[in-house]
């Protein structure tokens, strides 16, 4: 459904993404891993059609997302890395605004607001101003925003940062549930946490795809260890074999 092909993106002379390709189907959750500066956030911005690539294309349903941004954005749920929100708005007002901006009717927005508030653990803070929320709750609001219109493509840039273990686990379940109808791509640094829900991994290094591997049904601990080493660029031959076989 979502195809990323040969994406190249430069900032000045610096090449941030260099020929990244993969595809994601509904029901899949692809975890993009990489050290800081590997190009994860730029890749997400290109996939969100916020940045245009220097070369390559992102296609959704067979059409370039850059040819019909508005149509694509109607099917997209996106949580940026910094999780930007309007601090002056209350949580319920913000999610209603975002739902209406995405073309949902008033009634459907109200219904979806209830659903995402329950699934993201926001029911108790709906009347609170966003500016008064902790970093963890802000992330949950950002995630609820991405989920409110039941998107077909869900891009989450570092969604579990700043959350305690219990809430991170609960939100991972929410994302896994959303993946039933969406193609999900997410980034992060908690390899073990991502391994619980991801069906595939992509390891970026200096803007290139270092590894692309399925999560597999094998030894999860071995896979997490191998991925963690791959992110750091310290993989050996055994790690390479684990990544090729998805932990088997």
């Amino acid at each position: 459904m979502l195809e990323v092909s040969q994406i190249v993106r430069k900032f000045g002379r610096r090449t941030v993404l260099d020929g990244v390709s993969f595809d994601v189907a509904p029901g899949e959750i692809v975890g993009v891993l990489g050290a800081n500066g590997a190009g994860k956030t730029t890749l997400m911005r290109v996939m969100a059609a916020y940045l245009e690539p220097g070369a390559g294309d992102v296609r959704f349903g067979g059409r370039s997302v850059f040819a019909d941004r508005v149509g694509y954005h109607g099917a997209l749920g996106y949580l940026p890395e910094r999780c930007p929100l309007y601090d002056d708005m209350r949580v319920a007002d913000y999610l209603t605004f975002r739902g209406r901006l995405r073309g949902l009717s008033r009634r459907r927005t109200a219904r979806r607001l209830k659903d995402v508030a329950a699934s993201c653990g926001l029911s108790e803070v709906l009347r609170q101003p966003i500016g008064a929320l902790s970093a963890g709750f802000r992330r949950r609001v950002g995630l609820a925003d991405a989920l409110v219109a039941q998107p077909k493509v869900l891009l989450l840039d570092d969604p579990f940062t700043g959350l305690d273990a219990a809430h991170a686990c609960s939100l991972r379940r929410t994302v896994a549930a959303a993946s039933v109808r969406s193609a999900v791509v997410l980034t992060g640094h908690d390899v073990a946490g991502l391994a619980e829900i991801c069906t595939r991994f992509l390891v970026l290094r200096d803007g290139r795809t270092a590894y692309a591997c399925p999560a597999g049904n094998g030894d999860a601990t071995a896979l997490v260890r191998a991925l963690s080493r791959a992110v750091l660029g310290q993989e050996g031959d055994d790690a390479g074999a684990a990544l090729a076989g998805g932990g088997t």
């Binding site: 900032f11 730029t42 911005r45 969100a48 059609a49 916020y50 940045l51 245009e52 508005v70 149509g71 954005h73 109607g74 997209l76 996106y78 940026p80 910094r82 930007p84 929100l85 309007y86 601090d87 002056d88 708005m89 605004f97 975002r98 209406r100 901006l101 995405r102 073309g103 925003d145």
Partner: protein, 248 residues
């Protein structure tokens, strides 16, 4: 409701709920009131009518009102990162610009409406000689011209709020463009092309507003202002598209 309408409502609500709106409106009323009183004091016994003096005084302060109403529009979005979430929603850049422009214009028009009502109520009480001496038609013509001028200054302010991430810089550039640049242009024309300068004098903001308040509505400045509003909004849309490409 269209996406631009949803954005307009959010922006307008945020503006009217902020303390800044009441402070800037109070300052504008005080400044335009002071201008009127000063003009009445100086023009005592002259031929100038009250609406003419009022419109000329208010016209001078309108760029300040517009700069304050628009300085947050895009600069706050850029500084907080919410522009990224806004531009990955299903809304066109032109709709974003239109929604923000209309909201800022509404804020300015609210201030302008108060600046009409306040003297109309206060003056006859302060001076019985002025009671019944104000022509409603002349006042309406003056108001219409001031509203058109406000639209232009608002479009200029919206443009600079996208150019600058710092609100103060956006407001300063907006004021420069509205107050200093036209006078510099007028002076340059006067020095090099005196005949053009005489024709251009009819386009001066305060002069046009004062003239309209006597009941003489010139059409050429109206068309000129309308074209410039459209031009600045078009430029802002182009810049927003370019910013989207260069962001990161």
């Amino acid at each position: 409701m269209t996406a631009a309408g949803v954005l307009f409502r959010r922006e307008a609500r945020a503006a009217f709920a902020s303390v800044a709106f009441y402070v800037q409106t109070a300052a504008f009323l005080a400044a335009s009131g002071w201008s009127l009183v000063e003009a009445l004091r100086r023009g005592e016994g002259g031929f100038a009518q009250v609406p003419e003096l009022w419109a000329g005084g208010v016209a001078f302060w309108l760029p300040f009102l517009a700069a304050l109403a628009t300085m947050r529009s895009f600069s706050a979005e850029r500084a907080s990162g919410t522009l990224e979430t806004l531009l990955t929603a299903p809304i066109r850049e032109a709709q974003v610009v239109r929604g923000k422009f209309q909201a800022a214009l509404l804020v300015g028009l609210a201030g302008l409406a108060l600046a009409v009502v306040a003297p109309a109520v206060a003056l006859p009480r302060l001076s019985p000689l002025l009671a019944g001496g104000v022509s409603a038609g002349a006042l309406a013509a003056g108001c219409a011209v001031l509203a058109v001028q406000l639209a232009l200054w608002t479009a200029v302010g919206i443009f600079f709020s996208l150019v600058w991430q710092q609100q103060a810089a956006a407001a300063a550039c907006s004021l420069f463009a509205c107050l200093v640049a036209p006078r510099a242009l007028e002076a340059a024309l006067g020095a090099w092309f005196p005949s053009v300068a005489i024709a251009a004098a009819g386009f001066s903001a305060a002069g046009w507003a004062a003239e309209a308040a006597t009941g003489l509505m010139a059409l050429a400045p109206l068309v000129c202002h309308g074209v410039m509003v459209w031009g600045f909004l078009f430029l802002t849309t182009l810049l927003l598209e370019a910013r989207q490409i260069r962001a990161g």
